[in-house]
Amino acid sequence: MSSAVETTAATAIAAISTRGVARDFTAGQQTIRVLHGIDLDVRAGELTYLVGESGSGKTTLISIMCGILWPTEGEVQLFGTDIYRLSDSALVDFRLRNVGFIFQQYNLIPAIDAASNAAVPLIAQGMDRLEARERAIELLAALNIADQADKLPNQLSGGQQQRVAIARALVHRPRLIVCDEPTAALDARSGRRVMDLLREVALADDRSVIIVTHDNRIFDLADRILVLEDGRITHDGRDMPKDH
């Protein structure tokens, strides 16, 4: 872990900046504040973990940071753009060009093959389907599953599906990669392999990777760990606090 931090830290620049971010949810008559004035800077070139118990607000925070959930208060800057000052359509377009997602359940489209799934962001950007597919296959090759390019998701193993999901998150060369519990369904060895893979293919000097997890088996692979408790960041460091 430390070697990675050393190599990336030197080139780290601010990628995400949140100031006073708060978020309320209304349940019936009751309004519940799940995030309390989060001030945070995430640097590019870092593998940042967002850690916390269920209900701690990590999903809400990651959703706000990547531009899919409006904060009740505060502002979020992604690579210098105040994203919640953008119009709805501009924000969607910003996300399409700047954010890559790896969902916990992959959310691949069952009816299209692996290469086409990986090519979705490029197709959504308007690239010709076949050209987008070629680009996706190159990435699948880098992830060692080019031979599975023509297979449907249900013909792939869980690990292979995850690689397709990683390829989909990277294919359009976004500057922010967001991963939701990428190792939750994997055994320890596979989980570490996925994290190595992410570090290898996703991390770059001009790109930030944020991972939401509570998998303590991979905490040692992080460049930075943010612990969230009851909507507040209670820890920010390279390692997990001793009491966790």
Binding site: T59, S63, I68, L69, S89, L96, Q104, I109, I112
Partner: protein, 378 residues
């Protein structure tokens, strides 16, 4: 993205075929029922269509259709002939009679008396024999659908004797005629002979059939005849329309068919709506993921529209094809003789299918559009 939408749709074979079935069934029900309805009510005008040479039909002012008429005095024929613009005018008799069949049963028939000299009033085509067979003694020509009521299918009725209102009649030919609304057996004979076959009152002339002189407009001629004679005169198209209107106004057919068409629409909405919403529900995570990735609502709308359009076009095509198959399959059945699909019917079905898909697609789309991208992280 449209390609992805289509693959999402066809990738789930059960729902795809369910949607196709819903649309095809709905289209079939609407198209087939409307086709039967239109053809059935058009039979209210069959008496007019069977005499294509008559430009104008002249009748007593109270007569309404070929079957609902009040006979006129025979002098009406001369009065009509005297109107300027009339090229020719011939008598036409239409009356009900009874035929005792070989089995001893009594069958109601319609007797049509056509002009003795010109035989105007006979259908244009004969299925068996020639029109001039009516010159022979006691000769009648039966309509082709009528033969199936009296004789076994494929039986040649020429030469068969009938007891028509207690008088001898001999079938000498078979006319290729459009069946009447009631599919009653029709017997054509010469006017003078029809007067003997059908007992009646002092007035026996049902209609005067008129041919317009060259260059004379039928509508103007009809107006002129009415003006000069006081009789009711209708052009062929007007009188055909009168026959159709009579059925619409005096039977429950439009209501019954209308209910079936409505049911077809409701069934379509139900099947397609249910299947579409199941399809969307099963794919909501994928749609949510697409929204998170950055696929905007306009593209999502296009995706759902493409799915609806594909299901609609194929389902609609199958439904119309089914109706064509139905009409073709039953074309040899006398009940469906001459049935065709008016161009307006598939158009109405298309509008109905579009409405079904627009309604169900809109409901399905609402759910997709309401899905927050953030839901994919939950």
């Amino acid at each position: 993205m449209v390609w992805i939408a289509i693959r999402m749709l066809t990738g789930d074979a059960t729902k795809f075929y369910g949607l196709l079935f819903g649309i095809a069934f709905s289209t079939l029900l609407i198209t087939q029922q409307l086709t039967i309805f239109v053809n059935l009510i058009e039979r209210g005008a069959s008496g007019v269509y069977n005499v294509p040479s008559a430009d104008v039909w002249v009748m007593d002012p109270v007569s309404r259709t070929t079957d609902v008429n009040l006979p006129m005095p025979s002098t009406a024929l001369d009065r009509v002939r005297s109107v300027a613009g009339v090229e020719w005018a011939v008598p036409h008799l239409r009356a009900a009679a009874s035929v005792r069949t070989k089995e001893g049963d009594l069958e109601g028939v319609s007797v049509i008396g056509v002009d003795d000299a010109t035989l105007i009033g006979l259908p244009r085509r004969m299925a068996l024999g020639a029109a001039d067979v009516l010159e022979r003694p006691d000769a009648v020509v039966i309509d082709d659908v009528g033969t199936t009521r009296f004789f076994p299918v494929g039986y040649d009725p020429v030469g068969e004797r009938l007891e028509l209102n207690d008088q001898r009649a001999v079938i000498m030919g078979v006319a290729d005629a459009i069946p009447s609304f009631t599919s009653q057996v029709t017997l054509y004979t010469r006017y003078s002979r029809a007067l003997n076959f059908v007992p009646g009152t002092r007035n026996r002339l049902s209609f005067v059939l008129v041919g317009a002189a060259p260059g004379v407009d039928a509508k103007a001629l009809a107006t002129q005849i009415t003006q000069d004679t006081g009789l009711r005169a209708r052009t062929r198209d007007e009188f055909a329309r009168d026959g159709v209107d009579f059925i619409i106004e005096n039977t429950g057919i439009p209501l019954n068919f209308g209910i079936t068409v409505l049911l077809g629409f409701v069934v379509g909405v139900a099947i397609v709506g249910l299947t579409f919403s199941l399809f969307i529900r099963d794919n909501i995570k994928q749609f949510g993921a697409l929204k998170a990735i950055g696929v905007n609502n306009a593209k999502i709308r296009r995706m759902v529209a493409a799915q609806a359009a594909m299901v609609g076009l194929i389902g609609y095509g199958l439904g119309v094809l089914g109706t064509v198959g139905f009409i073709w399959g039953f074309s040899s059945n006398p009940t469906f003789k001459g049935f065709y699909i008016p161009w307006q019917v598939p158009l109405i079905s298309l509008v109905a299918v579009t409405l079904i898909l627009a309604l169900t697609g809109w409901i399905a789309l609402r759910r997709v559009l309401k899905t927050e991208p953030a839901a994919v992280f939950r």
